[in-house]
Amino acid sequence: MYRFNFQPVFDNLDMLAHGAWLTVQLSFAAMAIGLVVSVLGAVAKTSGIKPLRWIVDAYVEVIRNTPFLIQIFFIFFGLPALGISMSPNTAALVALVVNVGAYGTEIIRAGIESIPQGQIEAGRALALSPVQIFRHVVLKPALRNIYPSLTSQFIYLMLTSSVVSVISATDLAAAGADLNARTFASFEIYLVLTALYFLLALGFSTLFATLRRVFFDYPAGR
């Protein structure tokens, strides 16, 4: 009969809490930079300049149809062959940005295309200034349309980020792996790690749902 031993986990909760904090930081940094990449990608895709569109299309397709694990291996182990060496933490951030940028490009493009031309013309007919039109007629409704996709993408990114521990970048999963190497209470450690990730995911989805109610909860005609 297996005897559970949670003592090593409870003795090192501060270490796991610190790991969780690193995961949150990494996810936010990756999402923030990834959003910039996404907006640039979406603008390039909708710009009508063909070579630009092909490049972005190729980027999106390659990233979406290969595993994140291979992407991070390629960036961390493969790129030094081209003279681009990074520390594990930097490589982890770059890999996550490259990954989320591809998914984000599609989300933002959908957001841009979700605003009908007539809506902008209606804004003009109401004598709104270009800035007002951009803010109230384009930006806010577009954000409202893509908000659910963006927030679930963030949570997916946070869960995916556990993979960065395989190149020895520091995060929650890496903190767990460290603890496992010292105490061998494997099942107990991974049970608690899984629970911590679940709490993070649950916490953020609750936060995002609250924010949605504050900012975007107004009736819209369809």
Partner: protein, 218 residues
């Protein structure tokens, strides 16, 4: 000894694709059964069933696949079973696929208009007949595109099995890389193989989705 990256290595990596495919097929088949049970439980009248299936889906969608793999891997030892990477990967990916397919199919079932169920009930069809002949055939039409889309996610997910020591496409690449130390070439090749597996499925999913949208708007 470091040797050159040769055609034998490409062949070794190529042969490992079958394990990626076998693992994907096991997880998809198991996930289809589990997903169907979950989808029916999620849409059932019984509150307890709805609650249990919802919790299962939430947990598996709200935790990293990597953690699920580790938990099952070390969990086998807890149950007194021998630790076997293929078994652990197959079980973890099956549970993972069950949760995602269950959620996709729940949506598809709920997208069938309520009146269809009511009409079937009015015709005195049993629950089984109603699902089999009325609801599920219609739900299948909405479900196929996202199901194919999930298959791509599942194939990519099998790469994580390499971390618990199962030799599929990704781990074959790592092994070759350790011997040749040509990471750019090796992981580039591995990425290309994944792309060849996944891209056609992505295109198919997109095409199905476009056709569905056309059918709905028309």
């Amino acid at each position: 000894m470091i040797r050159e990256f040769s055609s034998a290595d490409v062949l070794f990596i190529l042969m490992a694709i079958r394990w990626t495919l076998i693992l994907s097929l096991i997880a998809f088949a198991g996930g289809a059964v589990g997903g169907m049970v979950l989808a029916l439980a999620r849409t059932s009248q019984a509150r307890v069933l709805r609650w249990i299936s919802m919790s299962f889906i939430q947990v598996f969608q709200g935790t990293p696949l990597l953690m699920q793999l580790f938990l099952v891997y070390f969990g086998l030892a807890v149950l007194g079973l021998p630790i076997d990477p293929l078994l652990a990967a197959a079980v973890a990916l099956t549970l993972h696929a069950s949760a995602f397919l269950g959620e996709i199919w729940r949506g598809a079932i709920q997208a069938v208009p309520q009146g269809q169920s009511e009409a079937a009930t009015a015709l005195a069809l049993s629950y089984g007949d109603r699902m089999r002949h009325v609801v599920l055939p219609q739900a299948m039409r909405t479900a196929t595109a996202p199901t194919v889309g999930f298959l791509v996610q599942l194939i990519k997910g099998t790469s994580l099995a390499s971390i618990i020591g199962f030799t599929e496409l990704t781990r074959a690449g790592q092994i070759v890389n350790n011997a040749t130390f040509q990471p750019f070439l090796v992981f580039g090749t591995v990425a290309a193989f994944y792309f060849i597996l996944c891209w056609p499925l992505s295109l198919l999913a997109r095409q199905m989705e476009a056709r569905m949208r056309l059918a709905v708007t028309r």
